[in-house]
Every structure is written in structure tokens, then in C-alpha cells.
Symmetry: D2
Subunit: 306 residues, 4 copies
């Protein structure tokens, strides 16, 4: 259960079977840093050209295809005071005819935000709007992370899939554990694209983009097989579907949660219909990128004791 | 500001330009009752054959096409102890290949629930499952309601549109005000299909179905024009899109919320991108019926003072 | 097998259980006329206000819910020389970001076409374009037609469903027989919205719009049950799905064709996979209106003899 | 304008920046062979494990990102008599509830076909069905081909994108020229997955799968920029969109065709609306794989002379 400090020197804009920068043991913790989505570090220096640069990949000894990799986000800390966001509403989230009026003149300019890690706030500092002051709670989350996909694929960090990727779900903050299907030896975990705050859907095309100091713990789970990412925090079990359209992402997420509840809680079919029918919750991750993200979740206090 | 007691004797399974059962003044309150979605009343007597029977329609004097009708749900009270739900997971919310395994043998049987209005709980009483006891908070909501659509249409209460209809959003409970575009003289408000509890999406095809005693207040707003239903409670402004697929419902809801924020809060484009991009929330109503429902909402405490 | 001449005097912009203008016997032929989609007749006089005015409905004695109504288009003849089309590309058929460039300045103006029933041509006469001369073959088709839906619904002629409606499939021309599920006594057939020519998808929002003289024959088929419209000409069996999104319309159409091939040709599952997998053809009707239309068809010469 | 004979020895199941097996000059022709989608060659020997093995990649000297690569299919000849297809209908092309009945018992077995290159026919030889004899015209086409995508991506040959890939459009046969946006030096053209026949949509998950001898010519076009693949034969200009859902694939294809017509034919907006509105044709490629394919095409004889 070692803790590794790792200072990344190069980055990837695909998630793939890249050479691991560090090989750790099952259960180890890694402390490292991530660039913001535009490749800028804590000093605003550009360290990488390409979308959503990933730190890593980090390999875990003994992880094999068919296993599950559990990633716990122990700490997510903005490493600078300056955050930024794009000033747009994505054309694909408004009516086709409204795109004309709504988005046309906006351009895609940066808005500036101040991150206050003591007050735990994120405050819009410019450009000037007629919103009045806008101060939001600081809610650090990771937008893009995942494991190498199967078959030698190298998938752009602009998108997502069953390997994870650019999911932009605001529930992926400190204290959450995310489970991925391992497709290659060592699993090869990639991480980057931190947000200080973000609405559902990431409909501006960004959250409040920020560089991060991150600490996370990697565990290999043998003898499990999952098809889509799963996640868990103190309150919820979550299953994640990443694809267009939203209808299909919702199908993947729902099916994955049903499989989880069957496997781990042995919930029968009548129970599943009563439980999910009356208690399931859906949340929407990214609706900006090539694949959309839907989260299907259930409160753990509703589940039978294992 | 009169209060009218109305005891319905016949019901409709379409929302259309039906003869009004009562004409009230702007600002009046109506106390009436609704059948459950299968047409059964507080004594479990079948009073109507056809899906989601509507009480009404109720006309408001002076409401004209182009106005807005505001409906405030003052009280929603289950009028019997027995609730029921279908025992299925809809094939359209799981993976096409999983439908084979997941849904095939389930059939569509009733599950039984006990409604306790003193303890404010909803408890599954049968059939037997291996869930253990399942007791949920009583959260009364109206599944289907709306105003007569334009052009002489009569739209089935199985579906929804910009006139409202079968939206099945769990946020439509006591204390919410919903705004509809008026399409015919008198607006012609219809209401029915009460649920004691319901998950997101109504993916079992029902909530916990129940007859209701309802009290609501109708106000006509002149000089406003809306394209899709809007709603408001103490916490949120909400805009609702009703259509398949989810992607398009989300577009309608987002566009409608943007229009609202422009009209009433004069939020400029930069402010809109910052506010919605970092703070918008999406919720999912019905994903079971011919039209799906997406709610796009923003917390009122983030908005500039009017 | 009588032939009825009927001169319509009023029209409907919904398809519903309207009072029949004529009651005919099973097998009878009707000769009547239709307005263009804007309500203009052969003299360009406006005879109806409202989209896609329907002539009819025509009732057939003995047609009962659960039967099938077969409609054969015997003759479709433009009744004037002037056709027109909208000058737009629908925002929903181009990329959301391209809508800005592509459609913004176009407005929605009429283009004018000359219909020559002797030369069998349709020629663009204005406004001036840099296309050079544009002369197309005259291919008369009916855009919107169908039978009264179930449950007292009255469905706008802007959209479509399993009752038919605004399908805008260019294959619905002379010599085609279309089959509808009967939902009300007498079936109540409605017809209108003739086009002299039209591309796939009706992506300008119109075909070349024209008033028509029409002749069609109505037959009731007992003991059959269909879920979506079917059609047949000398070459193809066709099944039609009407809904958004395209993916779901394709599902409805494919399922309906499979049912047809099982029922009438007793094709087994292995045969179905070989036949449809290697020979099925899809065509796209309307992608402009609230519901989209997909046609799934198979050449009749590939089928076993009945 | 050399002609190169190339005998492939290894294959790829991703399309990416793989080491080129051959570097040719602009305008050169390559004669090579392809495995069937299961990795079997002309002797039915398995030569590669992994879906849709690609021969190549073939580099073209001087091709740079931002250029266009034109690929002309000169000859496509089945290299063995045995073709096969899967015996299924994909669950995603039928109604969710019908999947239960329709597909459940089918399994996924091979059907066998005899390819007769003299008679130009494809004949089902087994298993036994009640279709009677099924003989189709031999229509050789390439299912999967394309150029290396940008940014170091390696994209599975199970899917498609703007780099090409697994499009399965039956119009991609002999005599067609396909244009791809070049994303890496040399373009890196991949080719494989030949079909002797195929229905629209490839809804059985395969065409009649066969190994091929292929001859194709590669030309680099400087100073053009395209966003999606384009294609051309004697009759049509075609633009191709590859994505889920179908609605979005249709949008990409339509936008790309509009760009083409503007660039090469200087068609103005009014002309575009008249031409496409009344004459555009849509065809459906793959609706089986992760990305669907829609082709938007226009007959060349309708276009102004260049």
C-alpha cells in the first residue's frame, strides 16, 4: 500500500495502450498533477498541445483483461487560483431554429473565474455581465479519465466509451470510487481535465477549467466482469453509459445498474421493477462531446444488506 | 378568488377542446378529485375505461390563445390507502440485447403499496421480493395534466407535448406552479394520473398509482408568450420539453429556459453562458411513453434580482 | 363497386373521428379533389385556413376496429399548372453549427414551378437561381392521408403516426395500395397534400405543392391486424414507421415488414435473416415534421410463391 | 502512374497511424487482396484474429493533413466461391418489444452462399429455409476502408467516423471514387471487409462475407478541405455521415453535400433549396455497428455545368 509521488513530464490526448509512466502495486496510492483541458499547468504555462491532456498512464501490476480497476479519488485540489470557461451555449443543446438567435453572436471567448480554496468558492471575475456577482461552491471534479481500451484502440480524450474518457459528470469528485473494465495488462489508468465547478451537461463546452493536484488509489478486483463504468460514493451506486444519443446512453446505464444489483444484491425481477421503477435516479453528464453520458443511480440505503 | 368544489362524473382520455365541466374566474381555486391511471376511484371502483382519465376540463374566463395559464398545486392528497405499480422495466430503457434476459419473463403484474398519509410513507406490501422491506417517503405528484392544444387536436393522455400531458416528472408536487401556453378560449385545464411516489423516468410504466383529492389555483397571465411548459417552486425555475428522443426534449427545455431568463431577468449572452454552463441542472421525467420529458432548471438564488 | 364523384366543400387540419362526408360500400371508388397544403384549390383560391387540409373523411360501410383498410391510388392528376415550394433547407437536417451559415439568410420564400401534364415535367420558373434550367419528371404523390386514430384522438395533419398522416414518401404515387389499421367504425379515410415532385425527406418543408384530382378505391380486409401502415406496388412490399427519431421509425418499419412476411409468406427465422439481411431496402419519407417516416421494403420477386 | 502488386502478410483491426506496408506515388494503382471480416483468406485459412482485418496501410507520397485522398475502386473480385453471412436480425433495428419474439431463438449461425463470378450471382446454399431458392445478383462492395484519423487515434474497424471505416454502404462498389480528408502524412489508406451482396443497413450484422482481389488507384488532391467522406460515380455525387443516431448521420451527410455543391458548383441558396428540396436522395449504410451511416446524394445530370 505504497504512496507514489509522480511529476508528469508528457501527456496524451488519446486514451490507449501507451507506455506506462509508472507501475504500481494493487492498492497503491498515486499523488500527481493534471493540466487543464487546454494543456496549461499551475503556472498557466502550456505543457501540451491537444485536447484534454492525460497524465499517465499508470499501470497496476497484475491487472489483466477481464478484471475490474477501482479508482478512488482521495483528493482533488485546484493548483492555481485562475479558472476559465468558454462563453457559449452548445448549438446541439438548443432547438435547431433557436441556434440562430441564441448562439450566433456569442463567439467562443474565455470567461475568468477566481478559485478560493479557503472559502471553497468559485467566482466569476470577467467579462462583465448583467448577472450581478456570481459565486458558486467549489466542487472539484475530474472530467476525463479512464483505462486503455481493447484491441489496440487509441480513443481521443474528446470523447468517451466503456473505457471511461471525457464523461464530465459533476458527481465524479472527492470520495467517489469508479470501476472500469480492464482491457489490457496493467489496466493503464489515465487522468486529466479537472473542473472547479460545472453544470449538468457541460453545455458551455467546459466547466471552470483548472489544473489539479490529485491523489487517487488503484485497486484491482479479480473475478468481476463489467461492461460499462460503475461508481460508488457514500450515498449511491451509479452506472454510466457513454454514447450518442442520450436514449442509448440511458439504456447502457440502466442495463449496467441492473446487472450490478443482480450480481451483488441478488435482487429478483419483481424487486428490481419495484425498486428501480419507484426509486431510480438519472443524471446527465456530458451532452457536448461526440458521446453523451448518462448516470443511472440508486440510493444505497434502499438496498438489502449484503 | 372563489373556491369551487367540483365532483367529477365523467372523464377524458384525450386532452382537447372538450366541453368545460366548470367555468371559473381568473384566480379561483378548484377542489376536486382524480381517478388513478386505470380509472379507479377512492373506493377502487372503475369509473372510466381508457388510459389516464382526466378530470375537467376547467375553463377560466378571459383566457385567450396567446395567454399563459398558471396552475398552482395547493394540495395533493391520496384519497385511499391502496397504491399499485406495474412490475416491469420498460424494454426501451435497457440495451436491446438485454431486453431478452431482463424483461422477458416478468410479465406485467401489479405490485401493491400501502399509502400512510400520517407517517408520510409508501410501503411495498406485495408480491414478495428479496428486497426486504421497502418503504419510501410519500411524495405526491401529478403525472398528467395540461391545457387543450391548438387547431382542434385531441391528444391522447398516454403522451405529452407543448400543451403538457403525460410528463410524469416527480418534481410536479405540492407547491409547484406550472405555466402552459393557452391555445383555446378558456384554456381548458385537465388533470389526473396521481402518483404517491415515482422514480425518474417512470421506467416501470407507472409510479405508485393512486386516486387523489386535489386543490389547485388557476391564474391567467396576459401579455406573455411561451412555447413549452414552464414551472416554478421555491427553489427553481424549470422549463419542460416533451418529445422523443431525449436529445430533442433537452433542446426544447434548454431553449425555453434561455427565453425565460432573457425575458424576465434580461440576462445577456455572456451571463447566460456562464450561468447555465456552470449551474444548469437537467432532470428526466417520463422515458416510457411516446414522448419523453426533460426538465432544464436553474436555482433561483443564482439569478439577479428583478 | 360503384364510383362516386364527390366535390368537397369543407376540409380538416386534423385526422380524427369527424363526421363522414360520404359513406361508400367496400370496394367502391371515389373521384374527388384535394387542396394544396396551404388550402388553395385549382384556381389558387384559398378554401381552408390550416395546414394540409384533408378532403373527407370517407366512411366505408362495415369497416370495424381491428380490420384493415386498403386504399389504392388509381389516378393522381394535378388540377392546375402552378406548383410552389418553400425556399429553405430545414435546420434539423443540417449540422447544428452549419445551420448558422446555411439557413440564416434564406427566409422562407416561395419558389414557383410549372406543371406540364402533357410533357410530364415540373420546371422551376422562379426565382432566378444559378442552377440553370431545372426540369424534373412529374411524379405525382400524396403527402398526407390516413384513417381516424383510436380513442377519440384528433391528430394534426402536420404529423404522422400509425394512422398514417403527413408521411411525405415519394413512393406513394399512382398504382400503390396502402393498408391502414382501422381504429373506428367506417375507418374514416382522409386525403390531401398533393406533390408534383419531391426529394427524399421533404427537407425544404414542402414538395412541389399542387392541387389534385384524385381517384382511389377503398377495400376493407377482415381478419387481418396490422400495427403500422403497409403498402404494395408492382415491385415491392413496404412497411412504414412514423415517429422521431429516425432510428425508431426504422425499428417500427422493420418489425412491421417482418410480421407481414411471417404472416403471409410463412418465412422462417433463418430465411428471414438471409432475405432481409442481404436484400432489404430502406427509404426515407419526411424528416421535416414532428414525426419522421422510414419505409422498409422488399422486392416481391424475391419472395416464395404464396 | 505505376501499378504495384502487394501481397499482405499482416493486418490491422484498427485504422490508425500504423507503419505503412507500401509507399506509392500520387496516381499509382495498387493490386492487392483482402481477408473476409473474420480474417479468412481465399483458402478459408484464418490469417488474422480480430474484426474486419485491414490490408495496408498504403501511404501516398506527398499527402499532407488538410489534403484530400481520392480512392477509385477499379476492380473488386471475390477470390473464392464460398461466402457466408450471420443468421440474425440485429436487435437494434426492430421494436424493443419485438426483439423478444423475433430474435430470441435465432442464435447467430452462419449461412452459406455460393459465389458464381461467371453468372454474376450469389446463391444461398444452406441452411435450409422455406424461402425457396434465393439467388441474388453479385454486387461486390467494400464494407470497411479509410484513412488514418487525426491526433494519434486508432479507431476500431467495427465502427466508422469522418476517416471512413466500417460504413457498409452497398454503393461502394467498382467504379466509385471515394474522397477522404487526409489527417496524417501519407494519408495511410486501409482496406478490407468485402461483401458479395448486402441489403441496406447490414441488419444481419454481415453482408455475404468474402475475400477479395482488389485493384484501386490513389490520388492526392491539394487545396481542398472536406469534413466527411465524399464519393462519386457516373450518376451521383454522394456525401457520407457516420455516427449514431441516424438523425445526426443524416445531418452530417446533408451538410457535407451542401458544402460540396457550394464549392464546386457555386449553387446559390435559392438554387440549393430548390435542388435539394425536390431532388435529394438519402440512402442508409450500416445501422448495425456503433456508428450508423447515411448517404446524401444528388444526380449529377441535375447540376449546372462546371
Amino acid at each position: 500500500m505504497a504512496t507514489h509521488l509522480f511529476d508528469p513530464t508528457h501527456f496524451h490526448s488519446t486514451i490507449g495502450t501507451h507506455h506506462p509512466v509508472l507501475v504500481v502495486e494493487d492498492g497503491d496510492t498515486i499523488i500527481t498533477s493534471t493540466l487543464d483541458c487546454s494543456g496549461r499547468d499551475q503556472n498557466l504555462d502550456v505543457r501540451h498541445v491537444g485536447v484534454n491532456p492525460m497524465s499517465g498512464p499508470f499501470a497496476v501490476s497484475g491487472a489483466k483483461p477481464g478484471d475490474v480497476l477501482a479508482v478512488r479519488f482521495d483528493k482533488l485540489t485546484p493548483s492555481r487560483k485562475y479558472g476559465w470557461s468558454l462563453t457559449q451555449i452548445a448549438p446541439n443543446v438548443v432547438d435547431p431554429t433557436d441556434a440562430l438567435d441564441t448562439v450566433l453572436d456569442w463567439g467562443v471567448r474565455d470567461s475568468d473565474w477566481n478559485i478560493d480554496t479557503e472559502a471553497n468558492t468559485v467566482t466569476l471575475t470577467g467579462p462583465k455581465t448583467n448577472l450581478g456577482p456570481l459565486t458558486l461552491p467549489l466542487e472539484p471534479m475530474i472530467g476525463c479519465f479512464g483505462v486503455a481500451p481493447s484491441g489496440g484502440q487509441a480513443i481521443s480524450t474528446a470523447t468517451s466509451g466503456n473505457h471511461g474518457g471525457n464523461m464530465d459528470f459533476k458527481g465524479f469528485g472527492e470520495g467517489v470510487t469508479i470501476y472500469f473494465p480492464v482491457a489490457v495488462d496493467g489496466a493503464l489508468f489515465h487522468i486529466g481535465d479537472g473542473h472547479a465547478a460545472q453544470g449538468c451537461g457541460e453545455i458551455a463546452g467546459t466547466g471552470v477549467e483548472i489544473s489539479f493536484d490529485v491523489e487517487f488509489t488503484l485497486n484491482v478486483i479479480k473475478g468481476r466482469s463489467i461492461q460499462w463504468p460503475r461508481a460508488e460514493d457514500d450515498t449511491y451506486l451509479m452506472a454510466i453509459g457513454n454514447v450518442r444519443p442520450l436514449d442509448q446512453a440511458l439504456q447502457h446505464a440502466t442495463s449496467e445498474l441492473i446487472r450490478w444489483l443482480k450480481e451483488d444484491y441478488e435482487i429478483d425481477e419483481v424487486g428490481m421493477a419495484c425498486l428501480l421503477g419507484q426509486c431510480v435516479e438519472y443524471r446527465i453528464g456530458n451532452v457536448y462531446d461526440p458521446a453523451y453520458t448518462v448516470v443511472c443511480r440508486i440510493a444505497k440505503n434502499l438496498l438489502p444488506r449484503k
